[in-house]
Amino acid sequence: MATATRPPLPPLRPPSDAGGRPPRKRRRNESIGTWRWTDRIGYAAMWGAGLLLVAIGIGIVGYMAFRGVQYLRPSLLFSHPQPDLDQSKSGGFLDPLLGTVILTVIGITIATPLAVAAATWIVEYGRPTWLARIVDSGIEIIAGTPDIVIALFGLVLFQQSFFGWMSFRAEDGAVFGRSFLTAGAMMALLALPMVFAATREGLQSIPQHVREASYALGKTRAATIRRVLLPSVRANISTGAALGMGRIAGDTAIVVVLLGATLQLDPQGAVPGLRTLTGTGGTLTSYVYNNSPAGEGNAPQKAYAAAFVLLLIVIALNFAVDFIARRGARTGLETSRLGAR
């Protein structure tokens, strides 16, 4: 009677449905009860980790949204911050918001051409090989360098008198080294690896025959790069730029060290427009930092509101990445304007 205690075999299913449809995708039936206990623990831990990750993500966004809605008033976005202990008089964060925008624009404007040029050179020319390899790992090192180290480097670099025009100069000729221009230039180092990686990925994924077709039409290498290759990696460049902008907007250390992290924009110099750029200021990140209990301001409501706006900016940039990537995939290389010019 030994055979009677054995569990019945599952019924055999025909290989395909009678109607000719492909068989529905189904998980293989297997009972976890038959697994070894080590496997069961691992399986449970895995589910736990996955669900915990979801919970943390939803928790952080949900909590920030809750606090943001609680404390964010439209007037905060349009009024200048004032140094005042009374929270009803300390104003909003128009200046930090402007500071974030200015800094991001400066940073990405410097980073994108540099990164695209480096990526194009490495993929399309890349000779001598050893130099290309060094540049490649150099950019990887920049990606791994802590932002605070980059900030200190920026401080010593831009305090050289050669860069005096970029920031404020004291009476005795010492260069202050802190301004939107100097901070933006160092922010570019943060964004550079992201734009570089995205562009290189895009260029490498272009099949070789596209280049050969262009050469066959009598175009030079340089013209091929400009007319064929760069237009078709435009989506990649934009993705990298959006990621880099997110990184710049979210960085605090460089702002604290190189921008002064002041409450209001503090223009220096005589030329209108350039005055703001050579002056110090603050961004949303430094505003949050200074208004948290760790800073001097200690106004958690303002900090929550500003952090919520910052989070919205970052999320928007992330959506932009998705959007660009999807559009880039649809109007990818196959349908790009290869023949239009």
Partner: protein, 327 residues
């Protein structure tokens, strides 16, 4: 003049210009090392190898530097940075260790076991968590987690036991490690997921065909084959953890104190401060020459760490190239 720029570039010219731009990046790195090293030199010169040792209260030494004025004596450069180095190593090791387990399990979940609707939810969440600015993490830590730890987890008995050494206020090693883990896990998850997807499905199917259950096949075949990717992710996450300044300075209590594992469970409630956090907090008084040299010395140490981690990730990636997968 303008005509020359408008006319199409010759190949030669394009190569030279693009190459020159690429090499500026190299020049920047060289400048970075040289400049930081020059400014760091006085501190190392005055302290020698004892810079890396523990020499009493590091906060007092730093305060003395601020007060030393424009012409510090050799004695003002006194610094034993071991508490800061120890704090950096401790937070990084703990966060990377926990994060590694968390990330590998989550990555397996995403790649293999998650139901479709959870997968559609979890992928944007991972990307979002990787993009959240560190100051937002710090804000949540200092306004939510630290008060919770201070009010509910730290007992008055524990407060008493270390009363003469340090105050336990909630901002602690525990909070720093928890938030750091959450910050660096998404990086590891993203790279590990890529690595797991790059392993040929047939390998795992072979194991399943031999009668192993799905979990064991995943764990013993796919995860093991993706080990280089996992290590590469861990190295990248370590780099992020070592350099994290703002968040740590907000939630770690910001005290040059070495948490003592011999204190038992109280250990995790003790405050500390890492190298990067010290640089951020003392950057206001960077005009004092002694302080400046010390801060740049710390930066040089972090830079050296970044170099070694880049090297480590390069070594970790070598087997990946053998399989023909990119990461």
């Amino acid at each position: 003049m303008l005509e020359r720029f408008r006319s199409p570039w010759s190949d030669r010219r394009a190569e030279v210009i693009l190459g020159a731009l690429a090499c500026t990046v190299l020049a920047i790195i060289v400048f970075m090392i040289v400049f930081v090293a020059i400014r760091a030199w006085p501190s190392f010169h005055a302290n020698g190898l004892s810079w890396f040792s523990a020499k009493g209260d590091v906060d007092q030494q730093l305060n003395k530097m601020v007060n030393s004025g424009a012409n510090p004596t050799q004695a003002d450069y006194q610094l034993g940075a071991w508490p800061l180095i120890y704090a950096t190593l401790l937070t990084t090791a703990l966060a990377t260790g926990f994060g590694l387990v968390f990330a590998v399990l989550s990555a397996i979940f995403i790649v293999e076991f998650a139901p479709e609707w959870i997968r559609r939810l979890i992928v944007p969440i991972v990307r979002l968590l990787a993009a959240v600015p560190s100051v937002v993490y710090g804000l949540i830590g200092i306004l939510v987690l630290a008060p919770f730890v201070g009010n509910h987890l730290v007992t008055s008995h524990q407060q008493e036991s270390v009363r003469f050494v340090v105050q336990l206020s909630g901002t602690s090693l525990l909070v720093a490690v928890v938030i750091l883990t959450v910050m660096i896990t998404p990086i590891m998850v993203a790279i590990t997921v890529d690595g797991l997807y790059a392993i040929p499905k047939s390998w795992k199917e072979g194991a399943v065909a031999l009668g192993v259950n799905r979990w064991r096949a995943m764990w013993t075949v796919t995860v093991r084959a993706a080990r280089p990717a996992i290590i590469a992710g861990a190295v990248l996450a370590t780099a992020r953890a070592v350099g994290e300044a703002i968040m740590i300075s907000m939630v770690s209590g910001s005290k040059g104190f070495s948490p003592n594992p011999l204190d038992g469970i109280t250990f995790i409630y003790e405050p500390l401060r890492t190298l990067a956090a010290t640089i951020v907090e003392d950057s206001e008084s960077i005009n004092a020459p002694a302080m400046q040299a010390s801060l740049y010395a710390m930066a040089l140490l972090l830079l050296a760490g970044a170099f070694f981690l880049s090297l480590a990730s390069w070594i970790a990636k070598q087997p990946l190239k053998k399989y023909g997968t990119r990461s």
